[in-house]
């Protein structure tokens, strides 16, 4: 065998070794091909062919996870009297105003006896569907920062943004790409600082392409007269392996992790471990309920003893707020009669599975300072268990 035939044999063997891996991920494009803004077409391009899914999706928390500010996207009130956040500092308050030039947060400090200073920034991006709350971001040229006042749905009022000390203004908290990775589909980072972005590149919301991958090739193929109607060039997450499906959700529902690759380089179907290292949590280690749904689910017997994935219970194309619906998902595997409470409560338990076995728990990583108190929001635990 010559050196040349040796080389050809090696390459053939190598290709043979790679092929099975690729065949597990038949639809996954390479990261290099899909991580540029030009590959994204936006939700509107999906509407014509996927109308039913698209209409439902418009109300989902994923779609609403980041939006431009307008009268409908900002849940906080701007009416006089309701637009003020007083703080524990008697010399300091925030006022929120809406006008022709936009929506603003203004910090006002009074220095005795009569000096008043203030600082005002425009709300440029709305983060959060509003179900629990909303936080707002502003651009200073191409740098993105968090604003100090958040809307909190539980009280229907303005509140200090999570982690912000009560009674002091702070307009300097930068938004890093990993934060935005879970609140937007795409944005292009510019050279440091880390909160330096190309504004025009942003694809807001957790859009179709976050889970299906960049859609340019797919849309172009479908719109061409050559091969319309033939699904392809797009990822269908339902056809991914269980691990890759979980990875897709874990990008944002397993905590921030430790980035191993630039934010927004992950593509559906890829192995998340190459992009973000998610710390392993031993069985007895407490895991916060906020944004750690995957770790909590993985601690559940339901998960360990079945092939369930996130989509066993969740339909990400629509808004899901009804815990009774989720109880129905439990009953596809379990019988109500096997519940220990059944003898006492009978069919009254029918819609209660989630209330008891996935209870609401205080998050310890998200906390608000409000009126001298620390407020921890409640999030549903995804550790399915007998509590």
């Amino acid at each position: 065998m010559t050196a040349r035939t040796d080389w050809i044999a090696s390459v053939t063997l190598l290709l043979a070794a790679i092929t099975p891996v690729r065949s597990q991920l038949p639809e996954a494009p390479s990261a290099a091909a899909s991580s540029s803004r030009s590959q994204y077409v936006g939700d509107a391009a999906c509407r014509d062919c996927h109308q039913a899914a698209f209409q439902n999706y418009l109300t989902s928390a994923h779609h609403l996870s980041s939006r431009p500010p307008d009268a409908t996207s900002i849940n906080g009130k701007f009416t006089p009297g309701s637009n003020i956040l007083r703080t524990s500092n008697p010399y300091f308050y925030f006022i929120m105003n809406a006008g022709k030039e936009g929506y603003f947060q203004e910090a006002v400090a009074r220095f005795p006896p009569a000096e008043t200073i203030s600082h005002k920034e425009r709300m440029d991006l709305v983060i959060g569907s509003g179900r629990k709350g909303q936080t707002y971001l502003y651009w200073k040229n191409s740098d993105l920062f968090e604003l100090p006042v958040t809307y909190w749905a539980e009280t229907g009022q303005w509140m200090n943004s999570p982690g912000y000390p009560d009674g002091l203004p702070n307009f300097d908290k930068p938004i890093i790409p990993r934060c935005l990775e879970c609140h937007a589909t795409y944005i292009e980072s510019l050279p440091p600082p880390l909160n330096h972005f190309d504004k025009a590149s942003v694809v807001l919301g957790i859009a179709c392409e976050k889970c299906h991958g960049p859609g340019k090739t797919h849309v172009e193929a479908e719109r061409s007269h050559e091969a319309p109607g033939k699904a392809g060039n797009i990822i269908n997450p339902a056809k991914l392996s269980r691990d890759r499906q979980i990875d897709l959700c874990a990008l944002c529902h397993a905590g921030p992790g430790n980035p191993r690759a630039p934010a927004f380089s992950f593509v559906p179907g890829a192995n998340l471990a190459k992009y973000v290292a998610i710390p392993e949590n031993p069985a007895d280690t407490p895991v916060d309920v906020h944004a750690h749904q995957v770790q909590l689910l993985e601690k559940s017997r339901c998960f360990r003893s079945s092939n369930m994935t996130c989509t066993t219970c969740h339909d990400v194309h629509t808004q899901q707020r009804d815990v009774a619906y989720f109880a129905g998902r439990c009953l596809t595997c379990h019988k109500i009669e096997s519940c220990g409470k059944y003898p006492a409560l009978g069919t009254a338990l029918l819609h209660k599975c989630v209330d008891c076995h996935m209870p609401l728990r205080d998050s310890t990583v998200i906390a608000f300072d409000a009126g001298g108190h620390r407020v921890n929001p409640q999030v549903r635990s995804h550790r399915i268990a007998i509590y």
């Binding site: 400090a109 220095f111 006896p113 008043t116 203004p169 307009f171």
Partner: protein
Amino acid sequence: MIWLLALQLSLIPQQQHYDNAKDALAKMQFSRADEEVDLALKADPNFVAALILKSRLALFAHRPDIARSCLIKAVAVEPSSESAQFFLGVFYYLQNDFSLAISPLEAARALSLKDPMPYFYLAMSKEALGDAPAALQLYEQAAALSPEKNPQTASIFVAYGRLLYSLGKYDESLAQDELAIAADSQSRDAFYEKAKGLEHQHKYQEAAENGERALTLPELGTSDSQIHFLLGNVYLKLNQPDLAKAHLERFHAAPQTTQR
């Protein structure tokens, strides 16, 4: 000559840091303002303007101990500084040490006879000490020295009117409240005081309107719960029990602290 130049150059750093601190404060960058003013004072521990600025930052950050020591030092370094004397007086007034406030405020007034603010704080201190005649005279002088229409002038009229109200001079009190509103149409205190005066004159509908207006204004001073209490009582007298109940409930819901 060289010695003088060297002296001028050595003055640059602390002045630069002080200017940076003022600039940071104007941008509400409190941490940077703190750092810069500390650097200015490190370069010159007797820099009076920096001492005053540091005291004001400390007061804003609930550190009266630091504010007090800075102002006492500023007055000791430069007794003829009207600002140092005035801010020390204001500091004592804000700490309810009214007797201690009098001396530095008197000194500030003597150093700047046309500035209404020492008169104003002297008036409030005298009022707090129970010397109403002296307070009335000082309020009048402060008002006379404040022709401008601005929040500062409004606060003088409000305080003056409040004293007149407590002395039973209700018409005169209302007149001061009107002047306060004319000076600053966003003065929550002025609308609240006016509502109180109107309630006393049994003009309940007008009192309610002024109270509701006060609730919409952000200005610090009169608390929401004070206004809710007033409005609760006014609506009871207007025979509007639902509105009265709503306001009294919000009054009761307010934190049970000394600063309701």
